[in-house]
């Protein structure tokens, strides 16, 4: 949300604008921004630039702006993400923009055992429940 820029002599108007915006937000309990973040007990800090991900599942792009202040804007609701052992598979923000917003997080499964190695070897089952790299007999 952007507030109007103020100039000398327009302070009163700006204060009135702020009051209107604040009142409006209180009335509709708006939270136009959602921040999902790691809990402090697993947070290792950021790495690299921001990524910008547009709707429609388009590939995320490097965000040309590096400014963390966007994460603490007005009308932001904060959620702590769970510590998923293998990363996150999907996140649903239900009722985003309402006071009842809730995040539903689905953890990802561990990486699958490679089904096919680069030289075309398919792991085969072996006694004891494990697998080996033995080649399947030709059909």
């Amino acid at each position: 949300m952007r507030y109007p820029k103020c100039r000398v002599g327009h302070a009163a108007a700006c204060v009135r604008s702020l009051a209107c915006v604040t009142t409006l937000c209180m009335l509709v309990a708006c939270s136009s921004n959602v921040v999902l973040r790691r809990r402090p007990d697993i947070d290792t800090g950021p790495l690299g630039p921001f990524a910008r991900c547009a709707a429609g599942e388009r590939a995320c792009q490097d965000d040309p702006t590096y400014d963390g202040a966007r994460f603490s804007a007005s009308n932001t609701v904060y959620f702590s993400l769970p510590s998923c052992a293998y990363g996150i598979q999907a996140i649903l923000i239900q009722d985003a923009g309402s006071a009842d917003a809730v995040a539903i997080v689905r953890c990802a499964a561990p990486p699958a055992t490679p089904l096919m190695t680069t030289d075309g070897v398919l792991p085969t089952t072996e006694l004891g429940g494990g697998t080996s790299d033995a080649r399947l007999p030709p059909r």
Partner: protein, 526 residues
């Protein structure tokens, strides 16, 4: 601009707008933003060595003729121009591994010297945040002896600018550093420690094996003392070795009194808190003054803390939310000076005083782990401003009085500092450019929201201190009112000794051009 070499394990990005945490460096273009490790660790590699070829290639690129400055960022918290980037910016966050030094590699002299405090040397790579380090240490029933006021900064940046806390016995964070591992050029590294060695040569060999970098093992007091506060000017800080201690908890008291309460000012001058009701001699002591507090209102807040052994299993701090929205701070900062110059000036002072008093209520401080006491910041990014002065503790009363009087005078003129005054302490350091060069040192900080008047207020305080004949320096990581001559006046021959150490560690002109920054150049340190 030259063509970058192939950097297979580094993300290379071009940014249109890069800003530091507080927006004192705002929307700078960064044509080459480098993030080693952004794609993960390549298969078959160990993390310690995986990104060294890229680092070597980056340094080769920067040191070619003409040299290109390499700006290596921490958590971007510095408000000074030390991190004002050039064309090449390196994010070293992947270097965040932590390992205790093998006990067999510690010298007998160090073991004896550290026995009473049960010191445990820990290798911490430069990109590690204080928070991540606290977590790792806490899980091992260990803790840092001292940190700054929050935990989001990276260890290399933390010590590079002299972050200090207010520990009356340990000193600043750089005073708990036992060794520094610097990369000074492509495939060139050095492990620095004092001449009275803490570590056997096995540690330097370990670094060489882990990184594949040719590593010199140097035990030299001057070079080590230079590297303790390196200001980004001595090379790439790959790792530091900090001394951890057994996990402890802080407990103590906060006392709220009127602004010029005699008992608080006496404690500030003597560091004796008995007159405040403290039953024991604290290890941590700090003060906050609210310069616009009215008569009869609380405007001086003293906090003292003592350590006790951990009484319960370690638990990390919980999440915090920003105290105020970042866009709201910007709006307020635009509005307040307009009101400030009109009829509402007195009201602004009262609002600031009330906000300060609300944050520092008196009462007991229940035992908390150090990373909860000095945990995640609730300060929003953007629009923060701050200056920190450092003076000989003998000058404390005059310096704090002068600062408060100047802020009050500026307020009466319609220019309010949108914040308060913090006062903290640390004993002498051996670090050449540590700000705590006196037997005891007083840090006087006045952080605030930014406004159109903030720079004028800062200049007024610096001018008033000079007019009063009070010698001071400014925090390297905050806005400063220093120039080359005033830095030399404060630090004396330490400046030339630091420059001599820099020339020894970076003998080539190209290397010194790579590891420099606007702060070094402005203050005659490059």
């Amino acid at each position: 601009m030259r063509t970058l070499p192939q950097l297979p394990n580094t993300q290379v990005t071009s940014l249109a707008h890069w800003s530091n945490f507080h927006h004192t460096v705002f929307q700078r273009p960064v044509p080459i933003y480098l993030t080693p490790g952004a794609f993960g660790v390549p298969a078959g590699s160990t993390r310690g060595a995986a990104f060294i070829p890229d680092l070597n290639a980056i340094l080769d690129y920067c040191m070619a003729d003409p040299p290109e400055r390499l700006c290596t960022i921490g958590s971007r918290w510095s408000l000074s121009n030390i991190l004002d980037p050039g064309s090449v910016l390196l994010d070293p966050g992947v270097w965040n591994e932590i390992a205790a030094v093998a006990p067999g590699w510690l010298t007998n002299e160090y073991k004896q010297a550290s026995a009473a405090r049960h010191g445990v040397p820990v290798v911490v790579q430069g990109g590690t945040t204080i928070r991540a380090l606290n977590q790792a240490l806490g899980a091992a029933q260990l803790a840092l002896q001292v940190s700054g006021a929050s935990d989001g900064h990276r260890i290399a940046g933390c010590i590079a600018t002299g972050t200090h806390g207010s520990h009356l016995r340990v000193g600043a964070v750089h005073d708990s550093v036992l060794g520094v591992y610097l990369v000074t050029g492509p495939n060139q590294a050095v492990l620095l420690q004092p001449s009275r060695r803490r570590f056997s040569p096995q540690l330097a060999q370990w670094f060489q094996d882990a990184t594949t970098l040719a590593t010199r093992d140097i035990a030299d007091d001057e070079l080590f003392a230079a590297a303790q506060v390196a200001l980004g000017g001595l090379g790439f800080v790959h790792s530091v070795i900090v001394e951890a201690v057994p996990l402890y908890e802080w407990y103590g008291q906060t006392l709220a009194r009127p602004l010029f309460d005699p008992a608080i000012w006496h404690a500030m001058e003597t560091l004796d808190t008995a007159g405040l009701g403290s039953m024991t001699s604290p290890e941590y002591f700090s003060l906050v003054f609210s310069p616009f507090a009215g008569a009869g209102e609380n405007g001086a807040f003293a906090s003292w803390l003592c350590k006790q052994p951990a009484s319960r299993p370690y638990a990390a701090p919980g999440p915090v939310r920003p105290r105020i929205a970042s866009d709201l701070t910007q709006l307020l900062s635009q509005l307040i000076p307009l009101v400030d110059h009109g009829l509402g000036a007195a009201v602004i002072g009262q609002v600031i005083a009330a906000q300060t008093a609300a944050q520092y209520r008196g009462g007991a401080v229940a035992p908390t782990f150090p990373d909860s006491t000095f945990g995640p910041t609730s300060l929003p990014e953007g629009n923060g401003r701050s200056v920190e002065l450092v003076v000989d503790h003998a000058d404390t009363r005059r310096a704090v009085q002068t600062t408060i009087a100047t802020l009050q005078r500026e307020g009466r003129a319609g220019r309010h500092l949108l914040g308060g005054v913090g006062v903290r302490f640390a004993p002498r350091t051996n670090a050449l450019l540590g700000m705590n060069i006196h037997a005891m040192n007083t840090y006087i900080e006045f952080p605030s929201l930014g406004s159109a008047d903030t720079s004028t207020i800062h200049r007024a305080v610096w001018q008033a201190l000079r007019a009063a004949g009070i010698a001071f320096t400014c925090h390297w990581g905050q806005e400063y009112g220093m120039d080359a001559s005033s830095v030399r006046a404060y630090f004396g021959d330490r400046v030339e000794r630091w420059r001599t150490a820099r020339a020894a560690l970076l003998p080539s002109t190209a290397a010194r051009a790579v590891f420099t920054n606007p702060l070094l150049e402005a203050l005659g340190l490059s």
